[in-house]
Symmetry: C2
Subunit: 331 residues, 2 copies
Amino acid sequence: MKARAVALKSRPVGMPKTDDFEIIEIDAPAPQDGEIQVKNVCMSVDPYMRGRMYDRKSYVPPFQIGEVLTGGCIGQVTASSHPDFKEGDHVSSSWGWREAFTASTEGIERLGDIAAAPSQYIGAIGMPGMTAYVGLLEVGALKDGETVFVSGAAGAVGSIVGQIAKLKGCTVIGSAGSDDKAQLLKDELGFDYAFNYNDGGIVGHLKEAAPAGIDVYFDNVGAEHLQAAIMCMRPNGRIPLCGAIATYNDTEARPGPNNLSMAIGLGLTLRGFIVSNFMHMAPQFRADMEKWVASGAVTTKETVYQGVEQAPDAFIGLFTGANTGKMIVNF
Amino acid sequence: MKARAVALKSRPVGMPKTDDFEIIEIDAPAPQDGEIQVKNVCMSVDPYMRGRMYDRKSYVPPFQIGEVLTGGCIGQVTASSHPDFKEGDHVSSSWGWREAFTASTEGIERLGDIAAAPSQYIGAIGMPGMTAYVGLLEVGALKDGETVFVSGAAGAVGSIVGQIAKLKGCTVIGSAGSDDKAQLLKDELGFDYAFNYNDGGIVGHLKEAAPAGIDVYFDNVGAEHLQAAIMCMRPNGRIPLCGAIATYNDTEARPGPNNLSMAIGLGLTLRGFIVSNFMHMAPQFRADMEKWVASGAVTTKETVYQGVEQAPDAFIGLFTGANTGKMIVNF
């Protein structure tokens, strides 16, 4: 089977451009012993992928020029030479950025009976949702009824963070990149307070929303957001460091928060994490989140691009605020 | 009883000056019911006191102009109207910066039988030692055999951090402000590697000393030290934030580490703390540390100034590197 795929043409400098990517044709041949052939139905674009476009050591190896990119996707088995997989099975893999692939089953997860649309398994019930769940409950050690601030709150992770916090009886504050998104957080996702950070005055918003201070700040954005949050934390506050999307396209290292020493007197904990180090929590997460999504306790938002050739624009859109909720590329 | 004391004359701007302090005479009258009269034998100067000289909200209230400063000291009861205290008892209190005082016994600790010189109870067996103990073992969650880096390693806290880490079988790296101090860390305190940070190249030293990376960085200094340490941490590393002496005299907020987002991929934990939130560990600490000091397992260094009138210079000396080990003012 021939398939289209997206290869990295050049390493982006600053904001990625469509020209940094190219659409190529690849082959997904009939599976050999132990292999499966899969037709993808949707793929994920995620901010962390920007880091892999730099040629540097990190927690995931860099993408290579001329090679097809990888990332989360959901597909259906079209042919199988592996006893545990049969045609029609839904599988979750990191063979994204391509319409189809043939591979050994290593690292490929059979989803079994799926309780929601396939795209949810790269969204709320997938890596972004689990990032929210682990980061808030385990890394952030959330206690019922606390005051939570999440940045990038209209994004794939942030929108789930806020809703889990509401399920735990918390007061929830969110920042987003437009008035419309801030409105949506309040009207549709149950946030107690939301604001457009492009209007500035993050500290002012936080002081108004949480005059007694913030217990948990879930950081998706970094930079000014982190400094403002530190300024408004309560004693023994926790700051799960999940991402720093504001800085991912920086061409020079940006100075950190100038008030980090406030962490001493306040006894703050800043803890970075990547979800793949918490896979022991996956079964509990999936059970909870499938239930919450099915019952409507968690509302999921998606922004959908159509066709693998749109994947670069979908990815770039993560940094321009093109997405509300999870950014999905459907095939 | 008349006594000399040190009052704050003006709030220091930048590096404190002798002129910011004045020596005044105070009275320590015969004790009323429930009070004791105490003649101090030594007092502590500590970097955290610099923060109290600013007029700002913090975890301890600011010092007031014209008032006698306070801080850790050891004294002996000279007259008592309290049934639990008798003449000659050694007491630990925060009535420092004065030769004598009369006060209710609230917040005053009877030391009971003391197993070391009184000055040890404002040093290794006192607040600085407990800061090292709590910060390394509890906040830093040190595991036997790990690689530890401590900055300000020749200071009151740092010198104890390094030695506790050695007792736990760790590889220990220290930075200090002079070649002589670095030499002392290796020759007398058992550090595996020590360097003079004024020579620059902190990252280079850390890479040489710990090619496989650092598990725990105990931060007394902040600024360049923190940024360099983050660059060299191992996955799941921990950074107890104890102090930031490099920044205490800054007149403008200084940017933080420009590589804080490395904490995400590495799963680093940065946790600020103040020792007074860990008083439940005091009995265990005192038992351990009295034993370690008595047996010589922990070597204590002191720099001693004589007379209350020298207290301002002793304090200022903390920021110029005048002390090796604990800075003490004897009376």
